[in-house]
Amino acid sequence: MSSIMVSRIRQKQIAQMVASGKRLDGRGLKDYRPIKVETGIIEKAEGSSRVLLGKTEVVVGVKVEIGDPFLDRPNEGVFTVNSEFVPLASPEFEAGPPSEESIELARVVDRGIRESKAIDLEKLCIIPGKKVYVIFIDIYVLNHDGNLIDASSLAALAALLNTKIPVYVVEENEVKKTNDYIPLPIKNLPVSVTLANISDKLVVDPWLEEEEAMSARLTITFDKDNKISAIQKGGTGALKPQQIMEAAHIAKEKAEELRKMVVKT
């Protein structure tokens, strides 16, 4: 349960409009809100981006460190995704330990990047079994107006494409940082598309009030080869199997459109 309680009347209005194929903000059922992607906005971070999805605003910062690999993957770098719902972003967000929603958001974005093998982790090994690059992807939600998952996964991808990692050299088993930077090796381009089920119709990119009125949402992440890398159903309702397949086809089309937007910036 999140965000502002939209009055029941408002929810009903949204549901009725969607049932007749229209939306309160004038969009078509399969239209995204205007999207703006900026990169390199934080100089101190190795990579960064800001994504505006309508009024939803998300900043992603990428920090790069050196650390230990996982025992079972000695030749691979490590990455983690974390998200913060900072209290300035919504009257519903509070300081303190991360909420279920925030953890889910970070894990869904993580799954898209991990399962599509977006980051070439094998190229991030410095000394096998000892020293590897550790990539921290931090999602900072600055204004919550719905569909944080798509805004965040787009911002994460844009930030990764913008990331430069410092070059390290190994001298007598010591790892030394040089002044050179190379782009983070990226192999794939995962993009998530979220659809909401309102009045048994699928609506792309639900904004805040639509999220209040929806029964369930479905996020599908496609990689650059049009394969599904991750899926997450959310919300307290349920979906028909046919709706899920319909959503997959819509999401495939939309993911391609969104990917072009990030890759060109």
Binding site: R107, A216, L218, I228, K233, G237, A238, M245, A248
Partner: protein, 241 residues
């Protein structure tokens, strides 16, 4: 992972479930409880409620508050797991709650809470699905009015083959995992996740296979519930004698 005869690491056919055992009413303190074994998975679920909400400000004026905690015992996996809830467990608690919620008539119990506790005693892949299946039984055992039972099962892709009910190794080494929770009488899906790499067609096959698996497990679920009430009936008759 699939041998020349098309069999899996544990000798199953691609569309075959693991051995499943369920029992209802296993804990005396809880309002409802159930236990499941699916392969080497051993999972307990208990339901408390509808009861007064603590802390009280969380109470909802028009329906019951549904809460769910999925938790793994430190000894349930190969390497000891810290008992503190991990990010994975918090996410699974959320998706399992959302899988059960559409089945429950929450509006019948405003200002109360229904608390579901799922404890994984031993994990062998597919614990979120087995946990959902057993939690639905515990809810039914607690007498919580429901639109349908919820039953969950995963399908996925291992060695290029779409398989049902992945075990731990298949989950880790396989190409994709698609957990699904299904309400068989309503024909609705209330939990759906996926990780790995699948084409839309492969995903469609996995989804359908998972739903088939759910329909099979649903039969066991009903039998387990019935068995519970046969026992109660016998106990009552014993008392009357």
């Amino acid at each position: 992972m699939i041998n020349e005869n098309g069999l899996r690491v544990d000798g199953r056919k691609p569309n075959e479930l693991r051995l499943i055992k369920m029992e209802v009413g296993v804990l005396s303190n809880a309002d409802g409880s159930a236990y499941i074994e699916q392969g080497k998975n051993k999972i307990l679920a208990a339901v408390y409620g509808p009861r007064e909400v603590h802390p009280r400000h969380l109470a909802l004026p028009d329906r019951a508050l549904l809460r769910c905690r999925y938790h793994m015992a430190p000894f349930s996996v190969e390497e000891r797991k810290s008992p503190a809830p991990s990010r994975r467990e918090i996410e699974l608690s959320k998706v399992i709650k959302e899988a059960l919620e559409p089945a429950i008539f929450l509006e019948k119990f405003p200002r109360t809470s229904i608390d579901i506790f799922i404890e994984v005693l031993q994990a062998d892949g597919g614990t979120r699905c087995a946990g959902t299946t057993v939690a639905a039984l515990a809810l039914a055992d607690a007498g919580v009015p429901m639109r349908d039972l919820v039953v969950a099962c995963a399908a996925g892709k291992v060695d290029g083959v779409i398989v049902l009910d992945l075990n731990d190794i298949e989950d880790k080494e396989g190409e994709a995992d698609v957990p699904v929770a299904y309400m068989p009488n309503l024909g609705l899906i209330s939990l759906l996740q996926m990780d790995g790499s699948l084409t839309i067609e492969e995903f469609n096959q996995s989804l359908n296979l998972a739903m088939d698996g759910c329909k099979q497990i649903y039969k066991f679920q009903k039998e387990a519930l019935k068995a519970r009430y046969v026992t109660i009936k016998e106990e009552v008759e014993e008392c009357l004698r």
